[in-house]
């Protein structure tokens, strides 16, 4: 969350950068004081340290156009089978992890709020383990993956509706720094 905020702040500053010509052209009258442009310059330099993170185009995990940015697998009620539609997504992550043997993946299994909290820990674990198994069959090393369960404790959506519950029944794929 904090990193997301930092990222958002950095992006905002970069956006400020792009608009530099405007204050400058305005400030053209009193060019020397340059009060308008100075903060922008400071801002752009402040953005520099976080720039590596902000270079999203270089990070396929964060590129919304890249399938690797898709991280959630959803399930039917009481079920833990991974539907075929998620195979391409998992294949992409398997390829990425094989190409980055130093990278680790955390799989968090989740459930909707119905039923026993402890049974839901076990059900979420079964969901996460199922994803782990598929990735291993696709060639990822066991040591690169940890599968854990959050049960029903961290719902994405908290209303008691089927739409909401469907969002809560999922496994999330998380790379270091994302949890």
């Amino acid at each position: 969350m904090k990193k997301l905020l930092a990222l958002a702040a950095a992006l905002a500053l970069l956006a400020g950068c792009a608009s530099t010509p405007m204050p400058e052209s305005k400030a053209g009258v009193e060019d020397r004081t340059a009060t308008g442009s100075a903060p922008v310059e400071q801002g752009s330099s402040a953005a520099t340290p976080v720039a590596p993170q902000a270079e999203q185009q270089a990070n396929p995990l964060k590129d919304p156009k890249n399938i690797l940015s898709k991280r959630s697998i959803f399930y039917e009620y009481d079920k833990y089978e991974v539907r075929d539609e998620y195979k391409p997504l998992l294949q992409a992550h398997a390829n990425y992890l094989s190409q980055h043997p130093g990278d680790k993946l955390l799989i968090q299994g989740n459930c909707d709020e119905r039923g026993s909290r402890e049974y839901n820990i076990a059900l979420g674990q079964k969901r996460a383990d199922g994803v782990k198994k598929i990735l291993e069959l696709m060639g990822v090393k066991d040591s690169q993956i940890e599968s854990v369960s959050l049960g029903e404790e961290k719902p994405r959506c908290t209303e008691q509706t089927e739409e909401c519950y469907a969002q809560d029944r999922r496994s999330d794929l998380l790379y270091p720094g994302e949890y």
Binding site: G115, R117, Y119, I121, A122, D129
Partner: protein
């Protein structure tokens, strides 16, 4: 992660600070064959910060096993049997009467005497004197209520026990401990991540629980004496569902370190984990039978979650529940005779009891989201979590399903109740 840990530690430092939110208890159903009893004011009790008789009366009433007779303004208050107008109480249908007195001692403490009288026989059933400080009024009153309850019902009283539960307020979770009447709540642990499955050690000095402060379930044992806690299970994968062995030396826990959710026995200090389930299916929610010889648990090995029993060292399991396709959260009454569990029927999750000898089942509640049952140490009441207008609250029901209570905290979610053990005194 490190930040989360530090936050938890900081909050731990605040542990034992009194919690502001108090559980309030509302009785929503009455029991059968209630014993008519009068509890008179104790002569001189106004010297205490609280009336002993009020607490005794509230305890007895809450149990659902007594019908309170209006004590009115009996004047002068009897303190000895000879001063009681038995005919009057007999005419009012009374079976028993509690009278007492309080005097201040020279050292600043107090002496409280009480007598429990049999009205039809005009005899004394019990009479005890306690020496107490002003801080011990509630504890003394609960002990008196325990004695009255035990003498008249034949069952142990549980008014002196404590309960643990989790309060969620916004994104803050607190593991709290209160007296069985909901008073005197203290926070044992506060965290920004969920806390679930608190479980009392048999001697009542420690709580095992699952905390998510490391972004995954980890089992801790927390000493209520020192306020210190210890990680008991933090293996790769998930660690959850702690249950104490009868002797308090071991815990049954559920670990996924070797693939799937499996039940292990582990020392209460985290030593020597031994796997005792082998099936590739889900195995969770272990609960030791009171004789210490077997473990009840939930498994989906037959295609749907059902309750099974196996020996404490593992081996073959016997299926216990057969009706319905979702039976979970097994607990066994202290006499070993009754299984209490949660069953899903038509999408509703309700508390049920199953007589293990006859196989006869009974629905105890009619809620929508009832879960996490915890049986009182005398086996007569079951505390569980329920929902009221989309908010978590606790409720209690008697073992016969007739007496019902609701325990709620204003503006907060309450869940995960655990009824503490009896202390032998």
């Amino acid at each position: 992660m490190r930040f989360a840990l530090r936050a938890v530690l900081l909050l731990l430092a605040l542990a034992c600070s009194s919690a502001q939110a108090q559980l309030s208890i509302e009785i929503t159903g009455g029991g059968a064959n209630q014993i008519p009893i009068g509890v008179l004011r104790f002569a001189g009790e106004q010297a205490l910060p609280q009336n002993i008789s009020d607490i005794v009366e509230a305890d007895l009433q809450r149990s659902g096993r007594f019908r309170m007779l209006f004590a009115g303004s009996v004047d002068p208050l009897p303190t000895e049997m000879a001063q009681v107008n038995f005919d009057d109480w007999k005419n009012r249908g009374g079976d028993a009467l509690v009278i007492g007195s309080v005097v201040r001692l020279a050292d600043g403490r107090y002496e409280a005497r009480f007598r429990l009288l049999d009205i039809p026989r005009q005899t004394q059933i019990a009479g005890v004197a306690f020496t107490l400080t002003a801080q011990q009024v509630r504890a003394t009153a609960h002990r008196i209520a325990d004695m009255v309850y035990e003498k008249l019902t034949g069952d142990r009283g549980v008014f002196s026990t404590r309960i643990a539960y989790v309060v969620k307020q916004g994104s803050r979770y607190e593991l709290q401990i209160a007296d069985a009447d909901g008073v005197g709540a203290q926070t044992a642990l506060a965290s920004r991540e969920p806390i679930i499955s608190p479980s009392w050690s048999p001697d009542g000095t420690r709580l095992a629980y699952v905390s998510f402060e490391n972004k995954k379930p980890v089992v801790y044992v927390h000493s209520l004496v020192s306020g210190r806690r210890q990680v008991v299970a933090n293996f790769k994968g998930s660690n959850s569902a702690p249950a104490w062995s009868v002797d308090g030396q071991q815990l049954a826990v559920v670990l996924s370190k070797d693939g799937g959710s499996q039940i292990y026995l582990i020392g209460a200090d985290g030593s020597n984990p031994r796997r005792i389930t082998q099936s590739s299916a889900i195995n969770t929610e272990p609960f030791f039978a009171p004789d210490g010889q077997s473990i009840y648990f939930t498994s989906d090995r037959g295609g749907s979650p059902q309750i099974y029993r196996m020996g404490v060292t593992g081996g073959d399991a016997t299926r216990i529940t057969f009706t319905g396709n979702y039976n979970v959260s097994p607990r066994i009454t202290p006499d070993g005779k009754t299984l209490i569990f949660i069953a899903r029927e038509n999408g509703r999750f309700q508390l049920k009891s199953l007589d293990l000898a006859s196989g006869q089942a009974q629905a105890l509640t009619d809620g929508q989201h009832d879960e996490s049952p915890s049986i009182a140490p005398n086996g007569k009441m079951i505390l569980y979590a329920t929902q009221m207008s989309n908010r978590g609250s606790l409720a209690a029901v008697s073992i016969d399903g007739r007496v019902k209570q609701r325990l709620s905290v204003q503006a907060a979610d309450v869940r995960e109740p655990a009824w503490g053990p009896l202390f032998n005194n």
